[in-house]
């Protein structure tokens, strides 16, 4: 009787410990999400101030009649737009306000002129993004001088908060109010495509060969141990390997998604092989017997039956491997993907950076405006991973069959 009571008590204790463990992990996750969201969501918005620009009084020397066709933007870029904005700001808000507008303001003005060149002949009011200092102050975390300016603007109703579409469309910049994640996102995408295209087929074929065709001897045992060890190698070492092999030996372009993808493929490959072998092992031998019994060759058995049945398991392993590669920073630093790249890559051989490296670079910046950009970029990275994983899980469930 006492023993029975003890057993029930042990069970209750065990359940309580389990519950505490789950609750702790949920709490950590919630803390992370709340923290990131509270810091990062501001990064998706920015403040704009209205500015009246009297174009004839600026020294732009632009002729509205010539501003037509595709070269218009280039012609405008040649003019001193930021000087004109600065002059207009001083005229409107006083000497303190000379530098309150962001670098991105010139783009807004350029677009406005391209859209309607006739505004050059008169005076126009435009909403322009403010500089990072003012932006931070408006969000309640700035210096005293900036906060004073912000309150002045607010009194005149000359300040508004809008969605920062530049953050999703632009690339890295020196001015935090002009930065965006598009370049890094595209770099991540290209890199991961290269990784998947290389690591998945090679990993699956290696797993199939080792499991279905290779003779079981010391040599395959040795290979198995080596592959398991490879999966545990610290990622920075793969970076050094990539540096030595792809850059120094093969002379591939530095900072390119191609090299990043190759390096990450090396890292992902053993994970896929291990998951693939385990998945292939779980396919019941009776299915192999059945196929052999009707006269299928070993290759037909493998590709018609074993592989389709093992695919959900292989995909699970691939998801884990690719998700890890997607969040990897260290090996990419070694092959030069930490460079400042202000334009999105056009292809896999163009210089690029990836999201995790971009986050690392921004977190290193002194300017306060980068704090919320870093958190916002983390949100984008998490969403990107969520989408990739969701896609993979969807694919896995589609292939899932029971036997």
């Amino acid at each position: 009787m006492r023993q029975l009571r003890g057993r029930y008590a042990a069970e209750r204790r065990f359940r309580a410990f389990g519950f505490i463990a789950v609750a702790l992990s949920v709490a950590f996750l919630a803390f992370l999400l709340v923290n990131m969201a509270s810091k990062g969501l501001g990064g998706f918005t920015r403040y704009e101030a209205s500015l009246q620009i009297n174009f004839p009084q600026t020294d732009l020397f632009l002729d509205p009649a010539q501003l037509h066709g595709p070269d218009a933007a280039q012609t405008i870029a040649g003019a001193d737009l930021s000087g004109a904005i600065s002059k207009a700001a001083t005229a409107a808000y006083g000497a303190d306000a000379a530098n309150i507008f962001s670098d991105a303001a010139t783009t807004v003005v350029t677009n406005a002129i391209v859209k309607d060149p006739q505004i050059l002949t008169g005076s126009t009011t435009l909403w322009l993004p403010v500089a990072s200092k003012i932006d931070v102050a408006a969000k309640g975390d700035g210096e005293a001088a900036s906060e004073k300016l912000v309150s002045e603007f607010n009194q005149k109703h000359a300040l508004r908060r809008t969605f920062n579409s530049d953050f999703l469309e632009a690339s890295d910049a020196t001015d935090p109010s002009a930065v965006g994640v598009w370049g890094a996102l595209k770099g991540s995408f290209l890199t991961i495509i290269v990784t998947i295209l290389l690591a998945f087929p090679i990993g699956v074929l290696a797993a199939v060969y080792l499991e279905e065709f290779a003779a079981k001897n010391r040599w395959t045992d040795f290979l198995e141990v080596s592959i398991n060890n490879l999966a545990a190698v610290p990622s920075i070492i793969f970076g050094l390997l990539g540096l030595a092999v792809f850059l120094d030996f093969m002379n591939l372009p530095r900072s390119a998604p191609l090299v990043g993808g190759l390096t990450l493929a090396l890292m992902t490959f053993p994970v896929i092989v291990i998951a693939g072998r385990n998945a292939i092992k779980t396919v019941p031998p009776s299915i192999r017997d059945a196929a052999l019994g009707v006269g299928a060759s070993r290759m037909q058995v493998t590709f018609h039956h074993v592989l389709p049945l093992a695919l959900p398991g292989i995909l699970t392993g691939t998801i884990i491997g690719v998700a890890r590669a997607l969040g990897e920073t260290a090996p990419l630093l070694m092959i030069g993907m930490r460079a400042f790249v202000a334009a999105p890559p056009g292809g896999i051989t163009d210089p690029a950076t990836v999201l995790p490296v971009q986050i690392f670079l921004w977190s290193d910046e002194v300017d306060r405006g980068f704090v919320e950009k870093t958190s916002a970029a983390i949100i984008v990275l998490l969403l990107f991973m969520l989408v990739m994983n969701g896609l993979a899980i969807y694919l896995r469930n589609r292939f899932e069959r029971r036997w």
């Binding site: 003779a215 079981k216 019941p284 009776s286 299915i287 192999r288 017997d289 059945a290 196929a291 052999l292 019994g293 009707v294 006269g295 299928a296 060759s297 037909q300 018609h304 039956h305 049945l309 069959r401 029971r402 036997w403």
Partner: protein, 329 residues
């Protein structure tokens, strides 16, 4: 301890004339004298009139099938469909099967009986070289299919398995639709030129396996959703679909209930004549019901091989006698 009491005869007891030796002798005289070998074996029965000592487990008089063992057919001196000559199997250093010589005829069902681990399944798997899949397995001796040695490396194992189909102990349909299960074999062997031809093969195979009426309206449903007995009949249909000459069945009913078992046995009756059938079974009543020839294996040896009716009524060997009367096994 109980086992020892039940086992008065130790496995190592020497048997005066092993059937394999006789079969080998018969073989030496040439294929046409195989029947003489059998008659010689029958003569040996008198020495072991042990049948009276214990009532057999199987009441043979109730089994009409045993009577129809078509003696005429056997007496015609025709070639066996498959013949094994002194076949031995080794797993690594361990010998699992020694000196087995058996003939399997076109229109007869041959049953392999014996206690667990006696090598009957191992032998069955030699007949379509399924043992090739076990790396440590090594087969010695000669196995012929229509006079061609199937153990030689020149025999294409894929072709062989198309000619010698197999049904396994546990129903193992592919996790695909019923249609795909049956169509898979014909498709990989290129047996059909068009979709309609393939449909025809699927229908015929399912009809022969006695499953058509139950599944004709749901051919696209998963084969694994069927009941155990239906699954096993689906596996038989799958084996039939590639038009084999021999069908090997490895304890096809051991995972099934009595009703499903009865259906499979009925099916074996219907298939007899169209295909040579070899069946491994633990169930002696089943062997008596479905087969015309029975081989009794014990500890990797072929103890006795002959007409089913005689094995069950008049076994020549003491070990066979003990097994069929339920003393061991």
């Amino acid at each position: 301890m109980d086992m020892k009491e039940k086992q008065p005869i130790t496995p190592t007891t020497p048997v005066p004339t092993t059937s394999s030796a006789i079969a080998a002798e018969a073989k030496a005289k040439g294929p046409s004298t195989a029947e003489q070998g059998e008659s010689q074996m029958r003569d040996g029965v008198a020495a072991h009139s042990a049948a009276e000592q214990a009532a057999p487990l199987v009441d043979v008089s109730k089994l009409e099938n045993v009577q129809d063992a078509s003696d005429e057919q056997i007496k015609t001196n025709r070639e066996p469909k498959m013949s094994a000559d002194r076949v031995g199997v080794f797993y690594g250093d361990k010998q699992a099967l020694k000196d087995v010589s058996i003939k399997i005829y076109d229109d007869l069902v041959t049953a392999f009986i014996g206690p667990s681990g006696c090598g009957k399944s191992t032998f069955l798997r030699c007949l379509n070289r399924m043992n090739d899949t076990i790396p440590s397995a090594r087969v010695t001796g000669r196995i012929e299919l229509d006079g061609d040695d199937i153990t030689s490396s020149s025999m294409d194992v894929v072709q062989l398995r198309a000619r010698v189909g197999m049904v396994f102990q546990k129903p193992n349909p592919f996790p695909k639709s019923i249609y795909e299960n049956v169509a898979y074999g014909p498709r990989i062997h290129g047996l059909s030129k068009s979709k309609t031809e393939l449909d025809g093969i699927v229908e015929t195979s399912l009809k022969r396996a006695g499953l058509w009426d139950e599944v004709k309206d749901r051919l696209q449903e998963s084969g694994t959703a069927l009941s155990g007995g239906q699954q096993q009949r689906l596996c038989i249909a799958r084996a039939i679909a590639v038009n084999p000459e021999v069908i090997l069945m490895d304890e096809p009913c051991s995972a099934l209930d009595p009703i499903a078992t009865a259906k499979i046995e009925e099916l074996i009756h219907e298939l007899r004549g169209r295909y040579a059938i070899a069946i491994v079974t633990h169930n002696m009543q089943q062997a008596a019901r479905v087969s015309q020839r029975t081989a009794f294996f014990h500890l990797g040896e072929l103890v006795e091989y002959g007409k089913t009716s005689e094995i069950f009524t008049n076994p020549r060997q003491q070990r066979t006698q003990d097994y069929i009367t339920g003393r061991y096994g």
